[in-house]
């Protein structure tokens, strides 16, 4: 939004005298400077910030993974002490799940949901900003335990009691784990409510639920899972925290408590969490595969309903993580059955992707390679998962590397590969230039090979009996060779990630010399491709009226009398040019950031000094009330324009806006 000519929020005075009486405290006015990133409520900027932060934590978690693999490359490894090793693998898991995959999926959700349903923004733009800032506060808090907490959490990512108790984990690591996850949980909860309302309420005219792209559907299911699963982990984390901080007796068997309670609460959350991780990736490849097969998705409604079915059934299988914990034969039987059933909708999805590709004109772009890779790798992970549903087999596999192999095939093979594909697919939409395909393919193949080298051998190691979470092993058990292979593989993955970042840098550098990608570089099918790349701030010039699923495709293509697909319009004819005026956008605000800043302070206060809680609480309260008292729409933004619906977008004049802002501040300083 442009900086308005009238800088003053308070209109009663003589403008010449009361030049910007509030500098930083005045409402931010938009543009592209640092203030605007801190105060933005634009779902696209927030999505980008989620993505950047997630990739940062991918590196952090990746370094932790490499440390693990270096330690285990050879018998009697001595790179890490047993204690540090415990911290590293715990933080690797926590970082990758809560600080990498979930926020990266959130990046896609934030950026794409409004575009795919034809909306200008999410339902609550300021709450959206709040989610991001709370999440990043929690993420920083969680990792700050390395510095101020005497080391990371050391209880494994699921932090079973009694390992999580003060007796076995006396450092502050577990406190940071609990509070950090509570804070990120608040972020995800707010975000899920926001996105659910967005999908239900903000759809363009004609965009019925069953015309929504599969990605939007999968993200919607994910948000429902988050909405209902997070309170469960919240309870568990509070109980753990009260045990540790205030001496409560929730998990202390000596006092008559039952440590299994933690396992139940954790996995009631934990299993839906698996689908929270995997469903966005399923959605992404459900967009990529039809596009590059030049066919509509096979069995759209089966796709959607199997996603919903996974969402429901995901609630009934949690105890398969606990077959060896002594939950009794009846429970084992019931959960074993339900676990086998959940393979059905997943299988439906895999068959549908294959059927979509069947007979299609396949184009193997990098995005498509990642999508196909996802299907293949996830199938392997899914099959090894079915072997866990068989309780007797699971009894043998529990706590071995076989489990590690399985869930990495699911989470990395199914989740991360899909998200990577999504990056290549939507990169031009977000940044206005393509990622280099050659480097992209190099990235894909090194990642795929590295991934299989790392995690394939772990199946064998697990069946040989190598137990997980051990910091080293003795020679002579037959573990040496495959561990070495896995460690080499992990560095191949690292190399592939370097290729990716190099590609990002190179593509950006080369972009000015290449033709612009235009609105629709892939000849794709959903609404986001009908608007310019990068997306203008107001998204759609005019909200499209939707008449069918794959609306954008049908605007480009029709059928001749022989029912052959024919092109009826060029992209230029039907795409929007992003030149709208008169679009009304929500005003930016600093208060979400202020509110979010209070939460980590409360966290530090709980651990170190309760006075900090007071300060954090005040900051949070101030943020909340200032937010509530601040009108959603900046009254002054409209000052000159007289009516509400004026245009304040400014892709072309952001530079002008920045210059203007610079002027204002320079003026302040010189005066």
């Amino acid at each position: 939004m442009a900086v308005t000519e009238d800088p003053l929020a308070l209109t009663t005075g003589d403008a010449a005298i009361v030049e910007r009486p509030l500098g930083v405290l005045t409402r931010p006015q938009g543009g592209n400077g640092w203030r605007d990133w801190l105060s933005t409520v634009d779902h696209k900027k927030i999505g980008i910030m989620y993505g950047v932060a997630a990739m940062f934590f991918f590196i952090v978690g990746g370094i932790e993974a490499l440390l693990i693999r270096v330690q285990l490359a050879a018998p009697n490894g001595s790179v890490l002490s047993a204690d540090i090793y415990n911290q590293v693998f715990t933080m690797h898991g926590v970082t990758m799940i809560f600080l990498f995959i979930m926020p990266l999926a959130a990046a896609f959700a934030n950026y794409l949901i409004p575009l795919q349903i034809g909306a200008r923004d999410v339902a609550f733009p300021r709450l959206n900003a709040l989610s991001f800032w709370v999440w990043i506060g929690g993420a920083i808090f969680l990792n700050s335990s390395w510095i101020v907490g005497g080391g990371g959490a050391d209880c494994g990512w699921f932090c079973y009691s009694p390992n999580s108790g003060l007796a076995f984990s006396p450092s502050h690591g577990v406190d940071f784990y609990a509070i950090g996850l509570l804070i990120t949980g608040i972020a995800s909860l707010v975000s899920s409510a926001n996105l659910i309302v967005t999908v239900l309420n903000m759809r363009a005219p004609g965009m019925t639920l069953f015309r929504m792209p599969v990605l939007t559907w999968m993200l919607l299911v994910t948000q429902f899972l988050l909405l209902f699963a997070l309170p469960v982990i919240t309870v568990a984390l509070f109980l753990l925290l009260f045990d540790r901080l205030f001496g409560a007796q929730f998990f202390n068997p000596e006092m008559g408590a039952d440590p299994l309670l933690w396992q139940h609460l954790f996995w009631i959350f934990g299993h839906p969490e698996v689908y929270i991780i995997i469903l966005p990736s399923f959605g992404i490849i459900s967009e990529i595969i039809p596009t590059f097969s030049r066919k509509p998705i096979f069995g759209y409604s089966f796709m959607v309903f199997s996603g919903i079915a996974i969402g429901f059934m995901g609630w009934g299988v949690w105890a398969h993580h606990m077959f060896v914990s002594g939950i009794g034969p009846l429970s084992v039987w019931a959960f074993s059955m339900s676990t086998m059933f959940i393979a059905v909708p997943t299988g439906v999805k895999i068959l549908n992707w294959l059927a979509t590709m069947w007979g299609g004109k396949l184009r193997f772009t990098t995005a498509m390679l990642f999508a196909v890779g996802t299907v293949a790798m996830f199938t392997i992970g899914g099959l090894s998962g079915v072997t866990h549903a068989l309780a007797p087999a699971d009894t043998q596999q529990t706590d071995t590397y076989y489990i590690i192999a399985h869930f990495h095939y699911v989470i990395f093979g199914g989740g991360v590969l899909g998200l990577m594909g999504g990056m290549y697919f939507w990169w031009p939409k977000v940044f206005g230039h393509m990622l280099n395909e050659t480097w992209g393919k190099l990235h894909f193949w090194t990642m795929l090979i590295g991934f299989n080298l790392t995690f394939g051998p772990m199946h064998i190691l697990g069946l040989q009996g190598m137990s997980r979470r051990i910091d080293t092993y003795s020679p002579g058990f037959g573990f040496e060779f495959w561990n070495l292979v896995a460690s080499i593989g992990s560095f191949v993955i690292a190399l592939s990630v370097i290729f990716f970042f190099f590609n990002v840098w190179k593509s950006r550098r080369d972009a000015p010399n290449l033709p612009a990608p235009g609105p629709d570089p892939w000849d794709a099918r959903s609404l986001e491709w009908m608007i310019p790349s990068p997306t203008p701030e107001h998204n759609f010039d005019e909200i499209p009226v939707i008449e069918s699923d794959d609306e954008w495709w049908h605007r480009k293509y029709g059928y001749d009398e022989n029912h052959n697909v024919v092109r009826v319009a060029t992209v230029e004819e039907v795409a929007q040019d992003g030149s709208a005026t008169g679009v009304h956008l929500p005003a930016p605000s600093f208060w979400p950031l202020v509110l979010a800043a209070g939460l980590p302070l409360i966290g530090y206060g709980l651990i170190f000094n309760l006075w900090l809680c007071v300060l954090g609480g005040l900051l949070t309260g101030l943020g909340m009330y200032a937010w509530a008292l601040e009108p959603v729409d900046d009254p002054d933004a409209d000052h000159d324009h007289g009516h509400d619906d004026h245009h304040d977008d400014d892709d072309d004049d952001t530079e002008g806006a920045e210059a203007e802002m610079a002027d204002v501040s320079a003026g302040d300083e010189e005066a």
Binding site: L189, N201, M202, T234, V235, A248, E254, V632
Partner: protein, 211 residues
């Protein structure tokens, strides 16, 4: 908990879409109901924890007293009655503001907040007397679970009171106009939810006899 207030204070956000919503219902209300659905799982977890632990006594003489030993049912009944009546006054506040009757709105908001205050005062009394009677927070799983569950509920009520008082002040300053009745409704939904949770707790935790 933060989210409850956010949802409530963010009510103004609903005015964004000039073309109305796809389902024809308010964004804020939808978000609030989603949040309340989510809260069911929060309180469900705490209640289940208590149910699991309600008769778990610790070893040693000082750890054996559990909350059910010292329940003061007559007092808790009065507390329940107070909270129930506050739900009535809350709904009357909403009814008043939809009519545009601001003095009545303020009267009901304040009454609701005061009844909430009496409820919390009663909870402070209950906790204090239980502790005096030997049920310490750290004594056994039953007491930890009891204080955590009812404490969470109490924190919810307290946040609700602060929201009610804020509405009261806003109304006093003339900022809570008739067209903002939805804000009152949202806070009301939260308040009734807290009441509904207490209806559950009162029956399942207090009244069902332990044997």
């Amino acid at each position: 908990m933060a989210t409850a207030t956010d949802a409530a204070v963010d009510t103004a956000d609903h005015g964004h879409d000039d073309h109305g919503t796809s389902t024809g219902i308010s964004n804020t209300k939808l978000a609030m109901w989603g949040f309340l659905g989510s809260e069911c799982l929060l309180f469900g977890g705490l209640i289940s924890t208590y149910l699991l632990y309600k008769t778990r006594r610790g070893p040693g003489p000082e750890n054996t007293v559990i909350p059910t030993d010292v329940f003061d049912i007559p007092f808790t009944s009065v507390s329940s009655f107070v909270l129930l009546m506050s739900s009535l006054t809350m709904v009357l506040a909403l009814s008043a503001i939809t009519r545009g009757d601001h003095p009545a709105t303020r009267a009901w908001l304040l009454t609701t907040a005061m009844l909430g205050g009496i409820f919390i005062g009663g909870q402070v009394y209950e906790f204090t007397s239980f502790i005096r009677e030997g049920v310490g927070y750290t004594h056994n799983p039953a007491s930890s679970a009891f204080y955590t569950l009812t404490g969470f509920h109490g924190v919810h009520v307290s946040l609700g009171i602060v929201m009610l008082m804020s509405l009261f002040v806003a109304s006093k300053q003339g900022k809570l106009r008739q067209e903002h009745s939805e804000t009152v409704e949202i806070v009301g939904l939260y308040w009734h939810f807290v009441d509904v949770v207490w209806i559950f707790i009162f029956t399942v935790i207090y009244l069902i006899p332990v044997d």
